[in-house]
């Protein structure tokens, strides 16, 4: 593993306002993610794991502190930069899959490429992109599900589609928010094996999980407690 720092969070603070109550979730988090690392963020419910992952992935903004990606401050850059990061540099996998229910498996997987293209580009390259997406789906054992709708798939299959969508643009970091949390133990293990396999091929992975058994198999565990990282 090299020492190149890909993503760096400095003194992150985040507070949610719930009606009249202010709930501080992150209270000064510093974190560095190196290229090729597989980092798991663990902690009890409400410790701020998902919030931290969302901020690292430019889905949410911190109240205070900064995140830099490849030496660029993510939150002082324009909106288009963050849109671009989410589209090309980051790939998200969620606990509840979050696939578009009206689209087929193939359409869900090619969606990030479509979003990142102009109409002209897409018309020119759609066939190539579809072949690329089919290749990923085949690798993940979903070649027979390409034209099915998400509603016709099992939980494990849906999560594999979500992984395929997350990696279709070859992102620099894969962010997984409890990817096994909605699956039975055996299926969860299969999904985790896919993430491990991706990491072995050089994919940087940040995963939020409750499962310490899975976390132990990764390079580094970051434990959050009461909005702070603890050893």
């Amino acid at each position: 593993m090299n020492n190149n720092i890909l993503l760096q969070a400095n003194n992150l603070h985040k507070t949610y306002q719930l009606d009249m109550v202010r709930v501080p979730v992150l209270k000064g988090v510093d974190l560095q993610i190196k290229k090729g690392e597989f980092v798991t963020i663990v902690g009890v419910s409400g410790s701020g794991k998902s919030t931290l992952l969302h901020i690292l992935g430019a889905l949410d903004q911190p109240d205070q502190g900064s995140v830099t990606f490849n030496q660029t401050d993510v939150f002082t850059a324009p909106d288009t930069y963050r849109d671009d990061l989410r589209n090309k540099a980051f790939g998200f996998v969620f606990q509840f899959y979050h696939l578009l229910p009206e689209l087929t498996v193939l359409e869900n997987v090619t969606m990030p490429v479509l979003i990142g293209s102009t109409v002209g580009n897409w018309l020119g390259q759609s066939r190539v992109v579809e072949d690329h997406a089919k290749g990923i789906l085949t690798r993940l054992g979903l070649d027979h599900r390409i034209f099915h709708l998400p509603g016709q798939l099992s939980g494990g299959e849906r999560q594999r589609v979500a992984i395929a969508r997350a990696i279709v643009n070859a992102p620099e970091i894969l962010l997984a928010d409890e990817p096994t949390g909605n699956l039975d133990a055996a299926t969860g293990k299969q999904i985790f094996q896919i993430l491990l396999e991706l990491n072995r091929t050089g994919q940087t992975v940040i995963m939020v999980t409750h499962d310490t058994e899975l976390a132990r198999q990764t390079h580094r565990i970051v434990k959050l407690h009461d909005g702070k990282i603890v050893n």
Partner: protein, 385 residues
């Protein structure tokens, strides 16, 4: 004149029309026309019943007798308005049943007026002449068809003493007419300039006449058909304006309806919006999805609306007849609106404006929900249930 295609004199007067079978007397307006000239200048011929079947069978300018009655007296012909009370029955489908037989005799009574408009004292106040009713006219303007009869110009001119007269002091009063109908050439636009040209030509002509009472000639006005018939047209125009206003209000309501529907769609699709944002969709792209959706709905709606609207307008009178037959609902009362049928015409320019307005209205309706969707926080959107 280079701009005039044809012209014909017309005399207008009021009188009584008496028919013995069916026995009735109607107050009517009488138009003295030169039939050939009138047919050339106006579209009068298209509404004549018998003339259109056999043009030679209708003559106003020569006394004639019924073809199968050689011993009958010879009389001048008269054309009557088809909607004159008691002469016909119009069923709800707009089909007429005629009660007047061909060559039914009738009496016309008129009151001759002097050149200054007074009742002539020197002669019997009313002059009556017998005619044969040789045809009926349907201009589709109810007010005209229910009140007018047409006789030969020269015959009516003589009845009214409007032909050339010799006064006691040996003065000659020239023959008179009430109006001259002018048809301009198809290439000539009917605008103020054209009216002015005709007016100038008229006054140049009248100045050269050796007429002791030139003031009458000076009072001639040149107007277009629409100006003379403004009272008839304005009722329909007002109705049209009212309809535009009503449909305008409906369109505004439709915009709010689209807004409400799109707002619900955005709420329903909140999680999908979050998903799209999480994989890199920008606020503009999210807004564009909903705006394009609004535009497509507006486009499809306006195309369907154009097809249905065109069909409806083309068959509006048949539709009204159907309403009368089935429900007894009369939407268009021809006695109120003067026109016999609902006047309808599809204006391509109006249709184009309405199509564009419909698409723009749909996009405007989708705008607020689109902005709301674009501004959604992706994390909150993903958590939405």
């Amino acid at each position: 004149m280079k701009i005039v295609d044809s012209a014909t004199p017309v005399i207008y007067t009021a009188g009584l029309l008496r028919v013995q079978n069916p026995d009735r007397t109607n107050t009517v307006r009488i138009e003295g026309i030169d039939l050939a000239g009138h047919l050339a200048v106006t579209k009068f011929g298209s509404g004549l019943h018998r003339y259109n079947k056999n043009p030679k069978s209708v003559t106003l300018s020569k006394p004639a007798q019924p073809p199968d009655e050689p011993d009958a007296e010879k009389l001048y012909g008269l054309i009557y308005g088809l909607d004159i009370s008691g002469f016909s029955y119009r069923d709800p489908d707009g089909v007429y049943q005629r009660y007047i037989h061909n060559y039914t005799s009738c009496m016309i009574s008129v009151i001759p007026l002097t050149i200054s408009g007074k009742i002539m004292d020197a002669v019997t106040p009313a002059r009556t002449q017998k005619f044969y009713m040789v045809d009926d006219s349907r201009t589709k303007v109810y007010d005209i068809d229910a009140n007018y009869v047409y006789v030969d110009f020269n015959v009516l001119q003589k009845m009214l003493y409007m032909d050339e007269q010799q006064t006691d002091d040996n003065r000659t009063i020239p023959a008179r007419t009430t109006q001259i109908h002018i048809k301009v050439k198809p290439s000539v636009p009917i605008n103020d300039q054209t009216l002015k040209t005709i007016s100038t030509a008229w006054f140049d002509y009248s100045d050269g006449l050796d007429d002791s009472d030139n003031s009458l000639l000076k009072s001639v006005e040149v107007n277009r058909w629409e100006t003379y018939n403004a009272p008839l047209i304005s009722a329909v125009e007002n109705e049209k304006r009212l309809m535009i206003m009503l449909f305008g209000i409906i369109s505004i309501v439709a915009v709010f309806l689209i807004l409400a529907i799109f707002y619900m769609i955005v709420v329903e699709k909140t999680r999908d919006i979050g998903i799209l944002k999480s994989i890199g969709a920008s606020a503009y792209q999210i807004a564009a999805i909903f705006l394009a959706y609004g535009g497509v709905i507006g486009f499809i709606g306006s195309i369907l609306g154009t097809i249905l609207g065109y069909y409806f307008v083309e068959h509006i009178n048949e539709f009204q007849n159907w309403l009368i037959n089935v429900f007894g609902w009369r939407v268009w009362n021809r006695e109120v609106y003067a026109f016999d049928e609902i006047p309808s015409r599809v204006e391509p320019w109006d249709v184009t404006i309405i199509i564009i307005a419909a698409i723009v209205a749909s996009i405007i309706g989708a705008l607020v929900p689109a902005i709301r969707a674009a501004r959604m926080n992706p994390v909150e959107a993903l958590r939405y249930e």
